[in-house]
Amino acid sequence: MKAPRPSQSLRRRLLIQLLGVAAVLSALIYFGVRAIAEQAAEATQDNILGASATTIAEELAAQDGEIVVDIPYAAFSMLGAINAERVFYRIETDAETLTGYDDLPLPAIAPSLLAPVYYTINYRGVGLRVVALQRLVTVQDRPVVVTIIVGQTRNGHAAITSRVANLAASLGIGFFILAGLLNWVATERALGPVRRVALAVGRRGPADLSPLRQPMPRELAPLSTALNDFMARLRAALTRTETFIAEAAHHVRTPLATVRSQAEIALRLAETEDSRRALRAVIRAVEESGRSAGQLLDHAMVTFRSEHLEPAEVDLSEMLSHALRALTPSADIKDVTLQVSPLDTPAKVLGDQLLIESAIRNMLDNAIKYTPADSTVTISLGQVGGSHVLEICDQGRGLAGADLAALSIRFERGNNVADVVGSGLGLTIIQEVATSHGGSFTLAQMTEGVCAKLSLPCYVPA
């Protein structure tokens, strides 16, 4: 099954969206400030132009049937005051230019007597802001319409506009940066609880099924409730399974123990060779089923734990001495000597204690089982390269040509061991434990007996 692709991080989505909003707002600020400033600059220029044209209009007079105008100095000085502006004017009546530049264009819409008209034109290669104004002058009792046009270059306007544009840009960028920072802070704070919950869930080991107790934002409450419900159900299921296995084992093996005890008593009292043989067969069968039940449960446990491996620092040499203590009486019964090289140096590996212990016990158990009475099982624990190697050698009948690959198949046993009780699961268990810990397990035929070798990588604390 393919794992679902993780969707984009909440944090990134929030940040990107908030930054988008900030960018739009910054752009609005930039263009808004520019537009307002341009309007203000234009209005200022228009006011001055209007004032200048009005000043000229004040001086219009009729003399000897002619219109005369004495253009006052102030009319131009007020225009030239700012920057090095150039000024153009034209006074016209009845399509006849009285004075000024006669090619200075008239406005598209004729101004009325009351309101001046402002417009922008391109004149002799420069941009001009122009005002047109009309006045009535009475010439020989006849009213004559005079149009006064005053134009001014837009250098000052352009300078103001570019200054304002710079200012607007800085304002926009500043706003964007500030908004970005605030967004980041807000996002972090808003997502804090989510991260804490995720961390709390992530930190727990696979075996920790206790409910989540972290304070939870209201939006996440359904999630945590669902999670806690699920964990409670899982916990109950696991406990049920464990109890079931334990009780099953108890109910199967207790009657077996009874049968075996009774059979042993009967054997002690048996008179004939036939009944002795029958009773021995019964005891063997009981032994075999008891062992198989045990190995099956061990194997189920090994498989389960291998899949949910929760490694810890464990000491092979300590586990080996425990296993030796537990199995020495079994070896004693057969007069088998367990010869152990000194176990005084710890052999740390990273692994599951139960699994490794189970592997060691199975190795020892195999060796004791297959070595003949009155023989020696040699056990050594050493370091080879980056691995701790546990080697257990018996003096038994050997593998009779079978190889490990075949023998570690479940329920598969060697073809020369029919007379020895076994379940065919021991090697499978050891093999699985070795594999799940990144180690290896080998069986080697020696001139006398078999050497089983379990290698597990050394653990070096960081």
Binding site: A246, A249, E287, Q295, L297, P329, D332, I333, L354, S358
Partner: protein, 221 residues
């Protein structure tokens, strides 16, 4: 030796008791933790055999609770479980050893002896016959003041013979008690161990006699 057997299955308890009685041990039976506590209140035992799944609780909790009251009495837990976790847990709780059901009585005896040996033996375990001394706990045979260590099978064989001097035991009977039921040992394999014991008995008045076609017996000259 006196055993307390705490086991709720009546049939199993009875057969284990019968079997242990055959070897001359005295067994008290308790079917629950409550009964076990009653027994412990009035008698003292050499060893306690404890099942862990009992109707009124878990044997391991009992062990934790009773460790002080048990004083030095060794405890061997009988378990039907096989998970290693149980075993580790039991030893942590103060059990001396455990044995998995169904068990071999030879193994149970071996474990009992190992546990008692670890706890330190007592004088009552020494048996004298004619001019030899047999330490059942230390598994030593003293001939002419010379102590010799017996290996497990020699020890068990001698234990059977010395329990009833002058009684004749058949090879088949001895083989049943000496060899595990899971190994195919011929009755003649007994001869090897008889031979070894004879060698260790050299210089004493005690001999192992062969009665051709019948078996062996231990007797003093």
């Amino acid at each position: 030796m006196r055993f307390l057997l705490v086991e709720d299955s009546k049939t199993l308890a009875q057969s284990v008791a019968d079997r242990l009685a055959m070897d001359g041990h005295a067994i008290d039976l308790a079917a629950s933790l409550a009964e076990a506590e009653d027994c412990l209140a009035v008698a003292s035992y050499d060893l306690i055999l404890l099942d862990i799944m009992l109707p009124d609780g878990d044997g391991r909790d009992f062990l934790t609770r009773q460790r002080a009251a048990l004083r030095e009495t060794p405890v061997i837990v009988m378990t039907a479980r096989s998970a290693v976790s149980d075993r580790v847990h039991m030893l942590d709780n103060g059990a001396d050893d455990y044995i998995t059901k169904p068990f071999d009585f030879a193994e149970l005896e071996a474990r009992c002896r190992a546990v008692l040996r670890r706890r330190g033996g007592s004088a009552t375990n020494i048996r004298t016959f004619a001019d030899i001394e047999f330490d059942m706990l230390g598994a030593t045979l003293t001939v002419n003041g010379q102590a010799q260590q017996l290996r497990n099978r020699e020890f068990r064989l001698f234990e059977i013979l010395i329990a009833s001097p002058d009684r004749v035991f058949s090879k088949a009977h001895l083989a049943d008690r000496l060899f595990s039921f899971t190994e195919d040992a011929s009755d003649n394999a007994i001869e090897v161990y008889v031979g070894r014991l004879r060698k260790k008995l050299e210089g004493s008045r005690v001999i192992i006699e062969t009665l051709r076609g019948v078996g062996y017996r231990l007797t003093a000259q």
